[in-house]
Homo-oligomer: 450 residues x 2
Amino acid sequence: MIEELMKQLGSEKVSMNETELTRHSQDESCHPGVEPAVICFPESRSDIEIILQIAQEQHVPVTAYGAGTGLEGGSIPVHGGIILNTERMKRIIDFSPEDFTVTVEPGVTRKELNESINKHGLMFPNDPGADASIGGMVSTNASGTTAVRYGSMREQILDLEVVLADGRVIHTGSRAKKSSSGYNLSGLIAGSEGTLGIVSSITLKLHGIPEHTIAARCTFPTAKACAEAARLVLLHDIPVMRLELVDAVSVGEVNRFGGYQFPEKHSLFFEFAGSKKTVEDEAGLVEELMRDAQCEDWEVAADSLERARIWKARHELSYAYRHTSGKEVLGGDVCVPVSRLPELVDYSRELAEDAHMKAGVFGHVGDGNFHTLIVYDPKKPEEQKKAEQILERLAIKAIDSGGTCTGEHGVGIGKKKFQKREHGEALEIMKEIKQLFDPDGILNPGKIFE
Amino acid sequence: MIEELMKQLGSEKVSMNETELTRHSQDESCHPGVEPAVICFPESRSDIEIILQIAQEQHVPVTAYGAGTGLEGGSIPVHGGIILNTERMKRIIDFSPEDFTVTVEPGVTRKELNESINKHGLMFPNDPGADASIGGMVSTNASGTTAVRYGSMREQILDLEVVLADGRVIHTGSRAKKSSSGYNLSGLIAGSEGTLGIVSSITLKLHGIPEHTIAARCTFPTAKACAEAARLVLLHDIPVMRLELVDAVSVGEVNRFGGYQFPEKHSLFFEFAGSKKTVEDEAGLVEELMRDAQCEDWEVAADSLERARIWKARHELSYAYRHTSGKEVLGGDVCVPVSRLPELVDYSRELAEDAHMKAGVFGHVGDGNFHTLIVYDPKKPEEQKKAEQILERLAIKAIDSGGTCTGEHGVGIGKKKFQKREHGEALEIMKEIKQLFDPDGILNPGKIFE
Ligand SMILES: Cc1cc2nc3c(=O)[nH]c(=O)nc-3n(C[C@H](O)[C@H](O)[C@H](O)COP(=O)(O)OP(=O)(O)OC[C@H]3O[C@@H](n4cnc5c(N)ncnc54)[C@H](O)[C@@H]3O)c2cc1C
Ligand SMILES: Cc1cc2nc3c(=O)[nH]c(=O)nc-3n(C[C@H](O)[C@H](O)[C@H](O)COP(=O)(O)OP(=O)(O)OC[C@H]3O[C@@H](n4cnc5c(N)ncnc54)[C@H](O)[C@@H]3O)c2cc1C
């Protein structure tokens, strides 16, 4: 298989270097690493076709690897085989500012994309914090801090080019903003975590860069009170750009990690963006709402430096936890109807406290989506066990509350066990679709389904 | 088969009455009618299960029928068999104003839904003009005048309950606003025109009713100039509520139909909605843009009566054409990247004029989606032929311009012939999915695929 790959791709696109094998055994999750047999670095769609053809002929698993920032082990090659790393596919294939669209290869990262289009007054808003690849973001249906305004990745997609397991290449859409023509394959491939095909190009909607931005924060006595206050903003249909909950423990964590001095209290972080007048109105209205909800303080960032600092801190949060020396973290990613949010946030804090585990609760509360990070000592298996139990109870409660076990990180390895409970009979249909697209099971086996 | 239906459903839910057979042979399109063998009126999900079971056992086609307002013959039972009419399924199963969600049975119409929720300050914005059923709107992925702001039906769906051909019942989502859990079946069923399953309940996102609304209109010397002006509004990222093009011929048509006195010129109709201040700013900005683009006039509706009149007229437009006595209409529904819109609008006017056919061009230009209605005399087959040729050339040009042959009406019967050109290899995948969901081909056979 490796000889064949070298012959057909050229040896410079194939690696079995030790460092590369180690790097590709893991993503940013704490699922146990597994080394692939070989790593391929396709430089074009036809390279991807060659890799899939060889894999198909020789019955070898192929796991796509974007930037490896996934949090559910999606790109860990649990059954070995080939890693297909898209990092050399960084071309911007088409940029049409007049249509607000761009077509990119899957290895382009979110920041790279924005660097090349921001100067034209346009932006790609989807922001998971990490500098993920566009191919990876499509494949996990990523969202992040701005989804409250723009929706998840799925809503940004106009067209995908996908190489299927049997070598066929399809386009799932067009450059039209909407369509009622045929079945919606874009939405099906988005979020399928490389189990139905390899995404070889992506056409995305873009947005104008807002003229004016305001950042603000306020604190409340409990995390539950924060969640309740966040709901008020939604009820008033205010199109906030970002609306994040960060609990007191997490504020402390990020203060220490990044040298900030935010008050170590349960906080809401806001961003408003649009025309100057509109944004000022919105911020004013939200301040009123927060004061009515009895926030302890309300602070608007004095300038753009201060504003950048707030969001830098928010984005460092997850890293702050993940890089506590000698510790590991396990994370939850539930999403529930907003009316259940205060209760769920409370429940997750309670579970952690009852178990005497250090835990942070934060997330995209504007969507009813939040993360619970539990810190444990990897040398103490009983701690890991306890962390797992907490997250399991939380996921189950979220599903039973009409929500989902994963709002944005994907199923990967960690959320497989909740799929039956969440989807019921529909899980069988999903398996049949998997079987249809990939009858030999070469595409990222061991993910999503048990 | 009919005996079995009567026995299991009860005879009051089964009809072979002549008037009913005629009514169900047609939708609002001009595709030739075909009578079903029998019409069933299920009153619950379990009735739907019974119907599908009998159809499956006896290999009889089942075609779902919502309000019959479809424009592509989607609900015409071209192979006879059973019509499954959802008009008795009108329960609001759950209304959660605190979550902005509602769960309804498929026979509830758009207006009925709004009547029952508007008093709580909430609305369901999707508006195809006709009083379609929610089940039908899901199944064609309908959109209409407000899609420029809220997106198509697919974007409004949180969860669908679907009865599959083999009798299994699945839920495709949850009540959470977003999810990365498993494959996106909601999006797949939406727009599948009753060919993959029967939708038995729908959970939708709702929105707050805007505090303030402004309607305005302006005219330009050419339809192309209207389309160019519409693009300007999009480039400025102004969240208009509605943005419609109506060409001069169509304004004339609606004036005569409804007794209006709008200037019979190529026009843009606008609606702005939100907080009072924001809306006034938006309308002011758009007025400036339109004047810069050299509109001939700019008129803001003086009061809410005048505003209602403008949108009533816009909604009557399609009916105005469709009810010209002794005439029939054939309609196009292309959607293209907005930069191609002026050219396509121009092309469609040109095609009609060259063929000396009376035609109107109007539509949701904020999405790049417009309709071309060609009026012909059904007693002159050569006229119908010419109308078909015009729409065929237009659809092909739209596809070749990176667009789609149907932005919102669906494929039904009329757009089948363009599917291969538009989807290429992906059409095979769609057929395989159809085969997977409905191996015996009992669900709405003869639609979408040749
Ligand atoms: C600090 C931190 C914060 C984060 N915050 C968020 C957040 O707020 N919101 C959020 O949604 N996520 C968040 N994430 C998770 C992560 O950034 C996303 O899941 C992202 O989408 C992963 O992209 P990637 O390029 O790193 O993909 P990878 O991790 O490399 O892969 C992810 C999955 O996609 C598949 N895949 C990758 N490329 C392709 C392709 N071309 N074709 C088919 N399949 C492919 C892989 O096989 C795998 O299953 C965060 C991660 C970190 C480390
Ligand atoms: C004057 C006029 C203006 C219009 N303007 C617009 C517009 O602006 N935008 C737009 O999108 N449409 C428009 N339409 C078209 C029409 O209103 C839409 O296509 C609407 O979605 C059809 O809904 P219905 O309930 O009438 O469905 P039907 O016409 O009864 O059925 C449509 C399709 O859905 C299937 N179906 C119905 N119910 C179910 C179910 N429960 N489960 C599975 N399949 C089902 C049917 O089999 C059929 O294939 C217009 C129509 C008219 C007459």
